[in-house]
Point group: C2
Chain length 373, copies 2
């Protein structure tokens, strides 16, 4: 792995003409050394696959602010969208693909990174095809619907010597980084209890998120995953068991295919416990950690910002940033530097969460406590 | 019932010399008609049974502020405490009892109301003895350990034609009254989800609260009951099923007798659901209700105040009051007026909560969903 990664690093840096750059001591928004004025040709070219809401309203605007990457191409099945995006973002026709022509992206030197923003069920296919095209890959969360699919995606990226990042934008967000520090460094003593919940009232019942075959489930797959990830990142531990409960469906027609509200409880090796709620029928968004000597909280904790936080000692003060720009720049800076991405934003992390999502559903379906080790 | 209550009302009002008072149209802190200047002899004489923390630090100071009642006597097994209280609160020796002499309180015209502030396991005996002594009764929450005991207590009070209030002080507290209004009047639409949790890190492991035989259980009996009561008072509904989970014990020696942390989930007839945590090892105190068109929250939600609240439309503004004084005056005003106490502060309400506490333990012990109807 390390060998193939190093080899790949040299290939990749050579491809983008960056391997011989010297890095002065100026620092970027991450406090890391960067060149004084990154030349435009050092920005990685990103192609967005799937032009839904997240691409349109979050990623494309963020890519106008990024320092280490730029919007270089799109992949869409809708010709009208292709026209609109080419015009709006000055994208050359050569960088626009549909799902049939997608694999030809392998020959496009403008595109360094493929960001898969499709419905969950399509993540494996397009991550694997992107890897096979020799592109670095970013994939939205949840990484996939099953753990097995996650493994296939990781295998494909490893085989192609490309890196795979998952859309864990919060790991680059200052309030989140601060609560990770507070938890993992035991600033208020060991964590005893976490309440992490994320839910909202979903609109259009015909969207893919309401179809089990495309989404893999309901709110747990979409926003509950934030609470799963958060319980792990504040404790720095992997849960050893889980119990879970479906709520009854108050709108059975709307929720005929996926759960409406779901609760789950994790136990961690240290004895810390968590209790969580996710819902498509009601709003809640909070990450609360009670420690032996105090507590800390974010609410809102998982949305696109601004997040807001406080502790038993007072408010958490952090800069307000564009989450997506921080995420894209964070990933692309490492790719440009030829560094291995931090484990907790990679496919390995995506797979850990997907395994837990599957276990939560199994616990809720059976009523049993599911052991995870 | 109604007949015996009316009969009792006449007896009681006659006893305290209040039956022939005319009530002018001035109003009190509750917005209810009161006499312009209540004469001191209209204040009900209260005897506190059990001089632990709650009596010493909350009830006795509150009784210095009350309009409709006063601290008239004490019942304690500790002579040193008796001396201290007599001196501090100018209590005549004739109004001081121990647990053997307690029943003689029947002959004491200074004492109108007995407030039982003993460990949970002793509530039934002392409530029943107080009723048999012909006194009005207030009993701390939880009313008792078992539903059956609650019924015995209610029966004894009915038989003696006295009223029984439970220490549900929050029903007289302005922030709580406001969230009850927001929930039950559906100001933000129907409630879909409630998170109600109460826990703290307990100190002295030798206290009676840590002994199952005296407390009936751990944090659920002590503070979890607030979350049970709250889920009911904001929805205005009775749960139809419950699931619950014990957390593992991280301090098994300390928690050898009672649970350390416990989660439970209620389902209500409307489809509303709740998720709750109680703990003696970690702090959490919140009542959050997500409705179809907004949300409201109190945090702190259950402590002695000040409580703090907000809604999806902004902060909840309410006066800061002494909870115990409001509770004592609220109950005693009704007793003085010869009114039947509101159902949700009586033994009937206490019994509903105790039934649910028992069901939560059963659900956690068996891992089964327990039906409640």
């Amino acid at each position: 792995m390390n060998n193939s990664f190093s080899q790949n690093r040299r290939q990749f840096l050579s491809t983008i003409g960056a391997s011989t750059l010297t890095i002065p001591t100026l620092t970027d928004a991450f406090g890391r050394a960067v060149s004084a004025q990154p030349a435009p040709d050092r920005k990685l070219g990103i192609a967005l696959v799937g032009l839904g809401n997240y691409s349109k309203n979050q990623l494309a605007p963020a890519l106008q602010q990024t320092q280490y990457c730029r919007l270089a191409g799109v992949v869409t099945g809708t010709p009208a969208k292709a026209d609109e995006w080419m015009k709006k973002y000055d994208i050359p026709k050569a960088n626009v693909y549909d799902y049939k022509t997608f694999d030809r992206i392998a020959n496009n030197k403008d595109i360094d990174v493929v960001y898969v923003v499709l419905p969950n069920s399509m993540h494996p296919e397009y991550v694997i095809r992107a890897a096979q095209a020799g592109k670095q890959v970013i994939c939205e969360k949840p990484m996939a619907i099953t753990e097995k699919e996650c493994q296939s995606m990781m295998d494909a990226c490893n085989k192609a010597n490309v890196q795979l990042a998952i859309g864990y934008r919060l790991h680059y967000e200052p309030f989140t980084k601060e609560v990770i520090r507070l938890g993992q460094e035991k600033v208020f003593g060991p964590i005893k209890f976490v309440e992490a919940s994320d839910g909202f009232r979903i609109g259009d019942p015909t969207q893919w998120r309401m179809k089990k075959v495309m989404a893999g489930g309901g709110p747990l797959m979409d926003v509950g995953i934030y609470a799963v990830n958060a319980a792990r990142y504040v404790t720095g531990e992997e849960p050893i068991s889980v119990t879970a409960q479906f709520s009854p469906k108050t709108e059975p027609e709307k929720f005929k295919d996926v759960e409406e509200t779901l609760f789950w409880q994790f136990t961690f090796p240290s004895g810390a416990v968590s209790n969580s709620t996710t819902s498509y029928t009601t709003g809640i968004e909070r990450l609360y950690a009670a420690c032996e000597k105090g507590w800390f909280e974010l609410s809102p904790a998982f949305g696109y910002g601004p997040l807001k936080g406080r502790t038993s000692k007072g408010p958490i003060e952090q800069p307000i940033v564009n989450h997506q720009a921080m995420h894209l720049d964070g990933v692309c800076k490492d790719l440009l530097d030829g560094k291995k991405l931090p484990d907790h934003v990679t496919g390995a992390e995506g797979k850990r969460d997907v395994r837990l999502l599957q276990a939560i559903y199994r616990a809720a379906e059976t009523g049993n406590k599911i052991k995870l080790v």
